[in-house]
Structures are given as C-alpha cells and as structure tokens.
C-alpha cells in the first residue's frame, strides 16, 4: 500500500515469477556497498589468516593441530578462564550499575556522565590502563601507600596487581562499563507498567524480580556475558604490561610468533593460533546475536 513497501504488492500465495525474483534480488542492491566494504576490509584479511594457518612448512604436525596441543592448549584454557571470570563478574557488577542508573534516572546529568565515561572506559586498555592501576595499587602505588599508613598492608597480604586476581580487577575496568552500556537499554525496557501490573496481581518485590524481570533480562544477561567474554579474550596489551614473562594468554603467544624478536620461523603456528581465536570468537558472538534478538522481542 505505501510506496515504500514494494514487496507486498502480490498476495502471499502466488508463485514468484523470475521477474519478481530478480526484482527482489534488486532489493538487496543498496545493501551491497555496505557488505562489500566489510568484505574488503575485514573478511579478506581474515581469510588471509586462515589461508596461512593451513600452510604447513616441514613441521611434524599441522599448525592448526599444534596450536591446540601441549602448552598452547593450556594457553587457550587459561585465556578462556580469565575471560569467563571477568565476564561473569562484569555481568554482575555491570548490571548493578545499569540498574542503579535507571533507578536514579531522574538525574539526567548523572546518566549522561556515566554513559559518557562508560563508553570511553570500555575502550580503554593497554599500557595506560595497566599503569594507572600500577600507580594506584602496585607495589609503589598511591593507594597501597595510603592503605598501608592506615594499617592495611596489601603487599604483605600477598596482593599483587600482576597476579591472576590483580589482572581480573584491571580487566573489570573495561568489562563493567561495557556491560553497563549493554544493559541500560534492556533495563530501560522493563516497563513500569509491568511492575505495576505485577503489583496489582499481588507480587512482592522478590517475586517480581524472580518471575518477571529476570526472565526478561536473561537473554540480555547471557548476551552480555558472551560479549564480555569475547572482549576479554581478545585483550592482551593490558595483561602483557602487567605480567610479561609469565604470560599464558593466547593473543600474547601470537605476538611472540608474529612480532617477536626471539622466536622466528614459526609464523604458521602464529596464524593457526589466530585462526582458532577467530573460531572461538565466532561461536561466542553467534550466541550473542541469537540471544540479543530474543531479548529485543520484548523491547519493541
């Protein structure tokens, strides 16, 4: 009926003639530049990585297999552990922050400040972030010293920013804001009317959260988890700055092979590691997308 709806002019039960097929194909044409752009600048380089990962140069085992055996298997497991833990913690704290922002939504400035900073913090990483934490909580950190004068000796208690949990804390700096940004629209979508309806039907606070809000938020929560997981998995600059020499993370290993000064001639292994990373991320992001669509069903 409307001039923009060019595809509903025939009834649903009619067979599509070749002309209709082509005209529907033509409908995809305006999307082509976008697809083409992404293909050239993203998919092509990715394809190169995969192509090189399958090249074997007189090695006993194919690089793709070697990349997931022995110490590299441990690296993948460790990377996934770190990513999973920071993702879970990020989900919990990020959701709490998002909920708090919505709760205090009448303060416009607060929301703008938090979202603005969250967008920047979510992209932060690498040496500046690592150093900021070292400056705060490292052996010579400002906060470490302040706490020490107040009687809490972090160093003596064995806390080190370069330990596993120290790195988790630093990762949370960009995981929490990312989750906040993901959950804000979801929590916004919990319409006040539903809460009122639940109250009308006699549901208390706890019941509302357990039976109404949580199931509605669940897809977003899981989607957020997967996003945070992928985010942490790809990060390495921060962890490297904090614990070089002990690094078991996969992206750091890739660096050794492809950009390092010591190990040479093992670039295929580096590409294989990168290829496996892409595979893991694909699985993760597919889950994210599917869950996201589910979540959005209620938002519209």
């Amino acid at each position: 009926m409307s001039i923009t709806n060019t595809h509903s002019s025939r009834g649903p039960s009619s067979r599509r003639s070749p002309r209709e097929f082509f005209s529907s194909l033509r409908g995809w044409l305006p999307v082509a530049p976008f697809v083409g752009f992404v293909t050239v600048f993203l998919l092509m380089p990715a394809a190169v990585v995969f192509q090189k990962a399958f090249v074997r140069v007189d090695e006993p085992t194919a690089p793709m297999i070697e990349a997931i055996t022995g110490q590299y298997r441990k690296s993948f497991i460790f990377s996934m552990q770190l990513s999973a833990i920071t993702a879970v913690l990020g989900v919990v704290f990020g959701t709490m922050v998002a909920a708090s922002i919505v709760r205090l939504g009448h303060r416009r400035g607060l929301r703008n400040a938090m979202t603005g900073y969250s967008a920047v913090a979510a992209n932060l990483g690498g040496i500046p972030l690592a150093f900021a934490f070292l400056a705060a909580l490292g052996m010579q950190g400002l906060l470490t010293k302040i706490l020490k004068t107040s009687g809490i000796d972090l160093v003596g208690m064995g806390f080190r920013i370069s330990n596993f949990w120290g790195i988790v804390v630093v990762y949370l700096y960009f995981q929490i804001p990312l989750m906040t940004l993901v959950m804000l629209p979801a929590i916004d979508g919990l319409k006040v009317t539903w809460r009122e309806a639940a109250a009308n039907l006699g549901a208390g606070d706890r019941q509302y959260w357990r039976l109404v809000a949580l199931p509605l938020l669940l897809p977003s929560l899981i989607a957020g988890f997967l996003l945070l997981f992928a985010n942490a998995f790809a990060a390495y600059a921060t962890a490297y700055a904090l614990s070089s020499g002990s690094s078991k993370l996969v992206p750091v290993q890739i660096r050794f092979f492809l950009q390092g000064d010591t190990i040479t001639g093992k670039t295929n292994l580096g590409y294989a590691l990168a290829a496996w990373m892409v595979i893991i991320m694909t699985v993760s992001m597919t889950g994210f997308l599917l869950l996201r669509r589910r979540a959005e069903r209620w938002r519209r």
Binding site: G245, F256, Q259, I263, G265
Partner: protein, 393 residues
C-alpha cells in the same frame, strides 16, 4: 666481496650522468686499494687514521647520498645506546641528508615486517638495526644489501658477516639496575637476586620468548648457573626458581615503572641505563648499575642496508657513520661498546671520561658471543620450556 670489489660494483651502478669526476675519484681509490689494504695502514700512525677517515667514505658516495637527501631509519629510540646523539652527529656531518626514524619502539620483527610491507615505496626503511635472531631471518629472505663500510678490518670477525651483509656497530653487557631510593642494597650477582629481601622486586625487560634483552638475561643467568651458550636450560630453571621464591615480579620494565619505582631491580643491557638518567634525577631517584659477577653476557645488534631500498647510498653513508669514530664515540657515551673499540683505544682516541658509562675493561675483554647456531638452538629450547617451566607456574 671485499671493500675494493664493492667499490667497483658501486661505480658501475652509478648513473653515467654523474660524470667524469666520479670515475676519477673511483680510480684514485681503486689504486689506493691496489697498494694494499687501506685499513691496515691506520694501525701504523694516528695521522693516517685520520686521513683514512676523511678519504673514506669517498666523495662519490657522499655526493650520491646527498642527491638522495634522506635515509629512512626505523626502530632507533633516542635513549637506546645514545642513538639520539648519533643521529644528531650524522645530521651535523651531512647537513643535506635527513634521517627520520619511523616507529622508534618497534621490535626487530616489526622492522622486518615494515621492510616487507613498504617494499618499493619511498618510505621503505633503508637500514635496519635488528637482533641476531631477526638478522638471520633477514638474511634468509635475502634482504640484506651487502656493504663493507670503512674500518671493516678493525671490526672483530664475530661482529660482522663475512660477506658484508651486516655489521654489529655496538654491543653491551647484561647488567642489573637498582633503584637505590627504594632498594638500598644493590644486588651484584644472579645468586644475590635470590635473596628474600628482593621479594617481588626483580623484573625482566619483557618476555624472553619475544624480547631480545630478556632472552639475553636468561642466557646470562644460564652461564651463572653452570650452563653455557649451548645450554640455556639452567637459565630457565633459575628464573623458575626466582619466580617460585616470589622474587620475580611480573611487571614489564618500562621507563614509567622505573621512575615510579614499581620495578626497582631489573635486568637490561648496559647501554639502556644512561638514557634514563635525566628523568631519574628529575624525580629525585638514585640508582646503581652492576654487571653480575657470576654471569657476564654480551650481546650485539646487527645493522645493514636493505636490498631495493629507495636511498641505498644514504644507507651506506649511515652505516659508515655508525662504524666511524664519531659514531663509535656516540655509542660510548650511551654506555655501549663500539665495534672498533680495540682499534680506537689503541689509537688513543678514547679518554677516561668517555669510558665512564662502560663496564670495567677486564669485563669487556672477556666477552665472547654465541654463534648464530647456538642462539637458534637456545631459542628453540626457550620456546618449548619457558612456558611450562616458568610462565605456567
């Protein structure tokens, strides 16, 4: 290809348009070559040494380099062995030639990538300064442009490639630096680093699987613990123990970390410390540098021109410069030992105060370098064992 040969080849590459003067100059030099090795004359008298320096590199090369007007350099931080000073002295000597440095913090592997990525383009690197490991790779890929700079014969054999593909203009020794403002007792040996009072305070400059300086530290530790150039395993085990004791901190050594005191005890090349001095003084920090008594390990970096680069003559001039007296003295100031150190000392060109940043002469005299084959074997053991023994614990 000896120096005279390369001269002839260079002449044939020069465009005919250059003219008569070039051939005349080349002819002069070739006849000089014919009368015996030019560099062997220098050990005779001081004045001849000076004469050799001004007649070599010859005017033709300088003209050609001036015509190119620029030499593209890469990965030369100002604070590394006083490259800042050496770059400046090059500019002072040849005012018509610019020497921009791309990406000063690039690793040696990044340099190789840059050469391959920028092939055929005007900003392709003309000369490289890379670790021995990467130098092998550059050689395998046939990217070194062979050239024997002036003073070739005064360079020890281990510090140059027989075919002139690369030359090592300087070397350093692995040393322990201590921020004495925070840690009053500076350790002076690998054994001393195991002392409980250094708990959580010792750092490596990067990961040995990736960074040349850290790799060298492991080799040095190996020597200190009964290993050798052929056996890096004791070094790996030493660091495993250091980590188990809790002495090895994970934090990467950066200038920021040194100034903030986060890494008060760290292992690095002797020539990386003088560059930190101004900042340390500014922040009120005192420091001490000690070469470990139980493990003396020297290491060099390889420099050379790149095949097919846009400014080959300027590149040759640059290589000449870093080997020359000015270059050598610049390295000395930075705490590195120049390749022609012995010849310079014999010719009386090095004063006491110029040696102030260097380790003791006895130490320098005793340094030997591992062969490329030994380095390759050691890297493989490291790649296989560092992860399981050290990183994963």
């Amino acid at each position: 290809m000896d120096y005279c040969e390369s001269m002839k080849k260079h002449t044939s590459r020069v465009r005919v348009l250059r003219g008569f003067a070039v051939f005349a100059a080349a002819g002069l030099l070739i006849s000089a070559c014919g009368s015996g090795d030019s560099s062997s004359d220098t050990s005779g008298s001081d004045t001849t040494a000076a004469a050799t320096d001004t007649s070599c590199p010859d005017a033709a090369l300088i003209d050609a380099a001036n015509a190119e007007g620029q030499v593209n350099l890469i990965a030369l931080p100002d604070n590394w062995a006083n490259y800042g000073g050496i770059l400046q002295s090059f500019r002072d000597k040849y005012p018509g030639i610019k020497n921009p440095v791309a990406n000063p913090d690039a690793s040696s592997a990044d340099e190789l990538t840059a050469v391959e990525t920028l092939k055929g383009q005007p900003d392709m690197p003309d000369a490289l300064d890379v670790s021995p490991a990467i130098s092998q790779e550059v050689d395998t890929k046939g990217l070194w442009e062979p050239y024997k700079p002036c003073g070739w014969d005064e360079i020890p054999d281990v510090m140059k490639d027989a075919d002139g593909k690369w030359v090592a203009a300087y070397y350093g020794i692995m040393a322990i630096g201590t921020n004495t403002t925070i840690v009053s007792d500076a350790p002076d040996s690998f054994a001393a680093l195991k002392d409980p009072k250094y708990k959580g305070l010792v750092s490596l400059n990067g990961d040995p699987r990736e960074a040349g300086a850290a790799f060298a530290a492991v080799m040095a530790a190996s020597i200190a613990n009964g290993g050798s150039f052929d056996d890096i395993l004791p070094g790996i085990k030493y660091f495993a123990e250091l980590k188990k004791l809790g002495n090895l901190a994970g934090t990467d050594v950066t200038e920021a970390g040194v100034i903030s005191g986060e890494t008060p005890v760290w292992l690095d090349w002797t020539y990386n410390y003088p560059g930190l001095e101004p900042k340390l003084i500014e922040n009120g920090i005192t420091w001490a540098i000690r070469v470990p008594t139980d493990g003396v390990y020297g290491g060099f970096y390889a420099q050379g021109g790149v095949v097919g680069s846009p400014n080959p003559n300027a590149a040759k001039l640059w290589i000449n410069h870093i080997i020359s007296d000015e270059g050598a003295l610049g390295f000395l100031k930075g705490g590195a030992i120049p390749a022609r150190f012995d010849a310079l000392v014999a010719a009386g060109k090095v004063s006491e105060e110029q040696m102030i940043n260097l380790p003791a002469p006895e130490l320098i005299a005793g340094i030997t370098f591992p062969t490329p084959a030994q380095i390759k074997a050691a890297k493989e053991i490291l790649a296989a064992q560092w992860g399981p023994l050290v990183a994963d614990q």
